[in-house]
């Protein structure tokens, strides 16, 4: 087999193509039955194996091939001992801490500590500065409650390796999670998994991190994580390390033995780089395929209105449809009031081409003096707005009342016209 590129630059001088008919002007190589790409491929594979083995030696805390299998307790298995919250679908939503500023969920377990050196809590929507601890009891000292602080990144807890902890001994009879301080939003707890952390488990965890489905979310337009949040080893960095090491070794080998490779060094480096890029692009393509499937399930075959009703703000859109039916066809001035930035912006967008006012950054409304007779006020999920139907007075945020007529009332929303 001929090499694809042999000492051939990517650019050819003008007119060169006509002479060569686009074929690289490669000097003849010594004929060999082996592909010239075999040696570079073996080098890359060898470096990859060395790095994988090295990583496993560094990250596997106990036996490489443990007999135990992971044990998981889901949200429904957890008990909320302190604080308030409720089970929603597959997560326990903790809405507030107790009077001492503590929320605690616990579960009874029966684990051999040596079989399970790793513990991963599935917790989301934490504040970055949240203090989160894991507690546990053992049968060695049943009266003692042990604790360790868990790392928090991107609102999620990081897995913890307990192998070196002197109190992780005997049988673990109970696990608990403590969240301290005031909660700005509900904290979602999906469960806890005790992990044997053998070779296969670690490899599985990394592959799961790298190839987890990352659906579109509000931040996608700004950044693509590439799989799960909080990856201890990001795939691009791992690939760059492997490719960089393979390239450096290839350089060194080439310097020591100029005929070590039948492929030109630039072509080899380019091939390494493109191979790494292809791995990442395959992951990205796979994610796009999954995303398109999810999008199709939600929107395929629907018209514009049905798509809006199926969207995240479907309830708001339905309310705006009713409001628009109550409003004049010609554009009028509309003030949008809602507590949530997202709701104000979406409501305004749906209301165009009416001349809409919405505050993009706060829920404050202009004073009544800024409004004129014939202006409209659309309210959706906004606290602090009062309407006296008998007097026909509307007021908000301690401002003086203003004459207004209620034109539409619906769950969570209302529409007024200023008189």
């Amino acid at each position: 087999m001929q090499p694809i590129v042999q000492n051939a630059p990517l650019v050819s001088p003008p007119g060169d193509e006509a002479r060569t008919g686009e074929r690289p002007a490669a000097p003849p190589l010594p004929q060999s039955k082996r592909s010239p790409w075999r040696a570079p491929a073996m080098l890359l594979l060898g470096v990859l194996i060395v790095f994988v083995v090295g990583y496993l030696a560094w990250s596997v805390p106990g036996a490489w091939f443990p007999g135990a299998s992971p044990k998981t307790w889901y949200a429904k298995d957890l008990t909320l001992a302190r604080g308030t919250g409720a089970l929603h679908d597959t997560a326990l939503a903790v809405t507030s801490t107790d009077a001492n500023g503590v929320a605690l969920v616990s579960v009874n377990t029966d684990l051999r500590a040596t079989d399970y050196p790793g513990v991963a809590w599935v917790v989301a929507d934490l504040q970055e500065d949240a203090v989160v601890k894991m507690l546990w009891r053992t049968d060695v000292r049943p009266d003692k409650v042990n604790s360790i602080v868990l790392g928090v990144q991107s609102g999620r807890t990081l897995p913890v390796v307990m192998a070196e902890n002197r109190d992780w001994v005997g049988r673990i009879t109970g696990l608990a999670l403590v969240v301290e301080g005031r909660l700005a939003q509900p904290v979602l707890i999906g469960g806890v998994t005790a992990k044997p952390m053998g070779v296969l488990g670690v490899i599985r965890d990394r592959l799961r991190d790298w190839f987890a489905f990352e659906p579109w979310n509000g931040a996608s337009i700004n950044t693509i994580t590439g799989g799960a949040d909080n990856q201890p080893i990001p795939l691009p960095a791992a690939l760059a390390l492997v490719l960089g090491a393979a390239s450096a070794i290839a350089f060194a080998l080439r310097r020591a033995r100029p005929r070590a490779f039948a492929i030109a060094m630039p072509a080899m480096l380019a091939a390494f780089f493109v191979a790494g890029w292809l791995v990442l692009d395959s992951r990205w393509t796979l994610n796009l395929v999954r995303q398109e499937h999810a999008t199709a399930l939600r929107y395929a075959g629907k018209d514009d209105v049905a798509k809006h009703l199926a969207s995240e703000d479907g309830a708001l859109f339905a309310f705006i449809e009713k409001a628009e039916a109550a409003m004049p066809k010609t554009p009028v001035r509309v003030f949008v009031a809602a507590d949530d930035d997202y709701v104000r912006g979406r409501a305004a967008y749906h209301l165009y081409p009416h001349s809409v006012y919405f505050n993009p950054r706060s829920n404050a409304l202009p004073p009544p003096s800024a409004m004129r007779a014939g202006d409209w006020v659309l309210v959706f999920e906004r606290h602090g707005i009062q309407y006296d139907k008998a007097l026909g007075k509307l007021r908000w945020d301690g401002q003086p009342p203003i004459d207004a007529e209620l034109k539409l009332l619906a769950p969570g929303g209302a529409l007024f016209v200023i008189r």
Binding site: I221, P236, A240, W277
Partner: protein, 477 residues
């Protein structure tokens, strides 16, 4: 497929044809496509960008003279102009365009390549086709999704489509004081109207504002950009497979694809127009072709009218163009330019003023963690930043060589602009929370791809020349 969707495709095909006809005629008269491989891809690709921008200029003009937006007022004259340019471009050349199309078809099939390169060529084409098919489905199905799209871009499009003319958007104070309907308000009333006007054209073709279908131009921009980049790289002398790999590297960047799939932002247009402006301008200095100059100027004006940072991005081209223009003194002048710009920027940071909405402050605090995540850990850029750094290291002798130096300086100016913004303005917060760092970098990223592969190629040539004697020595021995 319903009739309105057919109208949507035909309407945009007309715009693309208009741009391609203008580009083709321009190069027929004032440039030279005859000796260029990749000429057809270049005309098709760049033609989209010229046509799209021409459409928005025409719509601005219609609004200025109070002609309501409609299919006939917009498409009629554009069709006539397209026909005139196409006729002008082809009248003296008989069947040459047919032969050119046949050549392009053969090139697409890779008939000129050997077996292995051809297999790779076809595989890569298939991969790209699959990617764009996925993106098309996403664009056509998903209603407007990302935040700024419905708070500051499509807001204008919705109003202008319904009112069939461009009406002003003003500040909160202006809106409160103005009579109803004379001034509109959204989250960024001062943003340019170029991108919303493309949505207005989609909606005009559909006769309704369909939140998903109006975004078709984002997908078309992605496809056209692949054509344009391939054409540019081929016209620079790059081999077909290498040029296709270059185009693939650029259009496979996840953050770029995301801006196609989650259409509605202006960053994709900013990135693509700026890349093609830079490449056209640098090419003009080399060829002194009026056609290259006109394309560069038109695209540069488009950059300014797409997004506010477009002005700064165009300014970053100046030192690179000086280097391209003056081989002897260019680097010294560019160095002085950088020094003056840096000094001016540092002086400005002491004033605490805001430029383009960014508050300058003399308090160096580079958000390293955010930069690491954005560029090296997350999936935004595949291996681009790693590759660019590696190429800069191994090819450092080539960076300021005569052929590479202009593009190196352009990229350096762009990187300096980004890093200055991250270190000395309130944008650092948007790096830490990942809200702006990648979108800002997207504007420069395709150009970094081009710089990376051209520098690597220059290094490869140099390496091969230096390596040949060593390589040959043992054999001779």
């Amino acid at each position: 497929m319903s009739l309105d969707v057919v109208a949507l495709w035909l309407g945009w095909l007309l715009v693309w044809t208009l741009g391609a006809a203008i580009t083709f005629a321009l190069y027929r008269r004032f440039g030279d496509l005859s000796t260029d491989r990749g000429g057809v891809a270049f005309v098709i690709g760049v033609g989209w960008f010229i046509g799209q921008f021409a459409l928005t200029l025409w719509m601005r003009l219609l609004s200025l003279v109070h002609v309501p937006f409609g299919v006939v007022p917009i498409a009629g004259p554009l069709a006539l102009i397209a026909a005139a340019f196409a006729w002008d471009a082809t009248r003296h050349h008989g069947l040459a365009p047919v032969r050119r199309a046949r050549d392009a078809y053969d090139a697409l099939r890779g008939v000129e390549l050997d077996n292995a390169p051809r297999a790779l060529w076809l595989a890569l084409l298939g991969w790209l086709a699959f990617r764009f098919a996925l993106l098309l489905l996403e664009v056509l199905r998903r209603p407007l999704y990302p935040w700024d799209a419905w708070t500051q871009w499509a807001t204008k499009a919705r109003v202008w489509f319904e009112l069939r003319r461009i009406v002003p958007f003003g500040s909160e104070a202006a809106w409160l004081a103005a009579p109803a309907g004379s001034v509109y308000y959204d989250a960024a009333p001062n943003y340019p109207g170029t991108v919303p006007l493309t949505q207005v054209w989609s909606a005009t073709l559909l006769r309704r504002f369909d939140d998903a279908l109006v975004n078709l131009p984002w997908w078309l921009t992605g496809v056209a950009f692949a054509f344009a980049l391939y054409g540019f790289l081929r016209r620079q002398g790059m081999k077909p497979l290498a040029a296709l790999v270059g185009a693939w590297l650029a259009v496979s960047l996840p953050i770029l694809d995301t801006h196609v799939a989650l259409a509605g932002y202006a960053d994709l247009a900013m990135a693509t127009y700026f890349t093609l402006t830079a490449l056209s301008a640098l090419r003009y200095v080399r060829t002194r072709s009026i056609a290259d100059l006109v394309v560069a100027l038109v695209l540069a004006v488009a950059c300014v009218l797409i997004k506010s940072p477009g002005k700064v991005w165009i300014a970053t081209l100046i030192p690179g163009l000086i280097v391209a223009w003056s081989a002897r003194y260019g680097l010294r002048i560019a160095g002085a330019f950088f020094a003056v710009a840096l000094a001016a920027a540092l002086v400005l940071t002491r004033t605490g003023i805001a430029v383009l909405g960014y508050h300058l402050q003399l308090d160096f605090d580079m958000p390293w963690g955010g930069l690491w995540d954005a560029y090296f850990a997350f999936a935004n850029w595949h291996l681009l930043i790693y590759g660019a750094i590696a190429v800069a290291v191994i090819g450092f002798r080539e960076l300021l060589s005569r052929d590479i130096a202009p593009l190196t300086i352009v990229v350096a100016a762009g990187v300096a602009f980004l890093l200055f913004g991250f270190a000395f303005t309130n944008a650092r917060l948007w790096v830490e929370d990942q809200s702006t760092v990648n979108r800002a970098t997207l504007h420069l990223a395709p150009l970094i791809v081009v710089w990376m592969i051209t520098t690597f190629d220059a290094w490869a040539r140099s390496f091969s020349r230096a390596d040949e004697p060593r390589h040959a020595a043992p054999a001779a021995a």
